[in-house]
């Protein structure tokens, strides 16, 4: 997720938000298929530079410039399943990033209220 939405000069990245607690909560709450999809998409992003920039090394060994090239190509890859798996990572990163008060403030948006997660008991 950090590779997908890194910090730039103008915007904080997903790593600057509460990503670790977001992932911890997601692992606890999300259905099995979403968890599996996210892990699969993340693994593909890390281990598939061979499919994008034709280098047989994991993404964390790449220079920043090559890593950017890899992530960009992965997100528009012609192989549909690959592209969709990467899309899921991007979507989850967006859910974490876009709800953060600092990010919303950058776009002059009010902070979101807490999600209560409550429901009505029987009566």
């Amino acid at each position: 997720m950090r590779m997908m939405m890194p910090r730039t000069g103008k915007l904080p990245g997903v790593g600057d938000t509460e990503m670790v607690s977001f992932l911890r909560t997601l692992r606890k709450e999300a259905p099995f298929l979403i968890r599996v999809g996210l892990v699969l998409g993340s693994w593909l992003l890390v281990f598939a530079p061979i499919l994008t920039i034709y280098l047989p090394v994991p993404a964390f060994f790449l220079s920043r410039k090559l890593r950017e090239k890899h992530v960009q190509r992965a997100s528009v890859h012609r192989f549909y399943l690959f592209r969709q798996a990467v899309m899921l990572v991007k979507m989850m990163a967006g859910l974490c990033w876009g709800r953060h008060p600092d990010i919303r403030a950058r776009f002059e948006m009010e902070p979101l209220e807490a999600d209560p997660g409550t429901w009505r008991d029987g009566s």
């Binding site: 991007k90 979507m91 967006g94 429901w119 009505r120």
Partner: protein
């Protein structure tokens, strides 16, 4: 009145009423309230929990977790994986939609009469009569100008410029505050969803509501439906709780949605050649316009403008849609720093969409874990329509003053300028190259006179069975070309009237 929520493992929960209604969305709530008003006792069985407005989430993460069916993870299987958007809570999709109300067009009843052996003017008059009443009870009004927001205003101006007639949305919203949070449920209680009006009325009239209660099977005595059974599910941990059985002395009404109703009948052993077939939808795709001035698309009515100008000739409905910031990263192409650069202009973006009255037909099957499996692929005819619709939306953006548009189609440039708008007409027709969702769903248990091509008869009674009625979008044999909530509600009330007569 009573509401029975999650029950931990223990003695079986047993309820009895005249009618059991499976599902509490537009169809289920409407049929239930009409039956209750007619003097029948009703038990509503809803798979999701009951969340009041103070329980509604604010973030899209919370909306997916607390309100969507399986976190919105149901996707079509076919050429492309397109999300199928449905809610799972008391009130169903009426809680998370944009509250758009469009009367059933007259040509729909003619089409049903011509091709499916029912409908016609008599049915139209009845349904419109119910829709009159619903519009009054649900405070249907057009979007107030002061809460129109920049996006809806620009769409109106752009459409006028290119000669499309348009209108403000009619919505079941009372005194809208324009907070742009329809998709997460209106915490200000302005949107009139079924959990705020029809369901409480059913309870006031002596009805019972079971929530957190996904139905596993319809129970039969021979060919007569006598009730439903299932197991409570905890809304947070998804743990199984006590078993429940709800008996219907006079019958069972299934209104669990176009995906869940056919799946429920299949796992209940209902025999019908047409069961799960003729699934249809209005797939939609959007185009961002990039403007010089900030748009702040999340202020104003979530969906406050639409045009039906292209419905009859092209099968298209054009409308606005506020895309929350959290979902925008997933919608914009690219990754890494490039994606972040593209997100920087979020305040200057606004999305307008086209929904296609698709001719494509899919199917629904009951899958592992009682989850529906939807097979659906857009055919080339419909893809051409979608491409044409996106082209029209792009033209509207430019007419409204956009400096560029983001088509979001693989193979196209990320942005197109005003002089490149016609390049959209050369975009790929491969569904995998498009970002689309299925939000309006129809069929799977379609009504008709022929048992070989329909699951239920024109009164919604399942062919070959007694006491089993379909009262949701799964019974509609065609798409509508307009938002379906009003039609589902009007038809459900008609079903209730027919049940009370019989």
């Amino acid at each position: 009145m009573s509401h029975i929520s999650w029950q931990p493992k223990g003695p079986q929960c047993e309820v009895e009423a005249d009618y059991v209604v499976v599902g509490s969305g537009a169809g289920g709530a409407s049929v239930a309230v009409a039956l209750a008003r007619g003097g029948a006792s009703v038990a509503i069985v809803e798979a999701g929990p009951w969340r009041a407005p103070r329980d509604y989430p604010s973030s899209m993460y919370g909306a997916m977790r607390d309100m969507m069916d399986d976190w919105g993870s149901l996707i079509t299987r076919g050429r492309a994986f397109w999300p199928v958007v449905q809610a799972r809570l008391v009130g169903g999709t009426t809680v998370i939609n944009s509250a758009i109300v469009v009367r059933t067009p007259g040509d729909i009843f003619q089409e049903w009469e011509r091709e499916h052996g029912f409908g016609g003017e008599a049915m139209a008059e009845k349904v419109w009569g119910y829709q009159d009443r619903i519009e009054n009870e649900w405070h249907v009004t057009s979007v107030p100008l002061e809460y129109e927001g920049n996006s809806n205003r620009l769409a109106r101006e752009g459409a006028t410029q290119i000669g499309l007639h348009d209108h403000h949305m009619h919505r079941n919203v009372k005194d809208c505050l324009g907070r742009g949070q329809c998709l997460q449920g209106c915490r200000k209680e302005r949107k009139q969803s079924a959990n705020l009006n029809f369901i409480p009325e059913v309870m006031q009239r002596g009805g019972t509501v079971l929530s957190c209660a996904p139905v596993e099977r319809v129970v039969f005595d021979g060919r007569r439906a006598t009730g439903v059974s299932g197991t409570f599910r905890h809304p947070q941990t998804r743990k199984k709780g006590a078993r429940f059985i709800v008996r219907g002395r006079k019958g069972v009404v299934v209104a669990a949605s176009a995906t869940h109703s056919p799946a429920l009948l299949q796992r209940s052993g209902v025999k019908s050649q047409a069961l799960g077939k003729y699934f249809r939808a209005h797939p939609g795709s959007g185009v961002f316009g990039c403007y010089d001035e900030p748009i702040y698309q999340n202020s104003g009515a979530t969906q406050g403008w639409s045009s039906l100008a292209l419905r009859e000739d092209r099968g298209l409905k054009l409308e606005t849609l506020h895309l929350p910031l959290e979902l925008t990263a997933g919608r914009l192409s690219g990754g890494g720093s490039l994606l972040m650069q593209r997100l920087e202009e979020y305040s200057h973006l606004t999305m307008w969409i086209c929904a296609v009255r698709a001719t494509s037909v899919g199917s629904v099957k009951n899958g592992w874990g009682n989850k529906p499996v939807v097979h659906y692929t857009m055919n080339q005819h419909d893809m051409k329509r979608m491409r044409y619709g996106v082209h029209q939306v792009a033209r509207m953006h430019f007419a409204a003053g956009a400096k560029s548009i983001i088509p979001g189609v693989v193979g196209m440039p990320y942005k197109l300028g005003p002089d490149e708008v016609d390049r959209i007409l050369e975009a790929s027709l491969e569904p995998r190259d498009w970002t689309s969702i299925l939000s309006h769903l129809f069929g799977g248990c379609v009504a008709g006179v022929d048992p070989k091509t329909s699951v239920c008869d024109p009164r919604g009674q399942v062919h070959g069975y007694e006491g089993l009625t379909i009262a949701d979008a799964s019974g509609l044999p065609t798409t509508l070309g307009v938002n379906p909530q009003h039609t589902i509600m009007g038809m459900a009330m008609l079903r209730a009237e027919q049940l009370l007569e019989s």
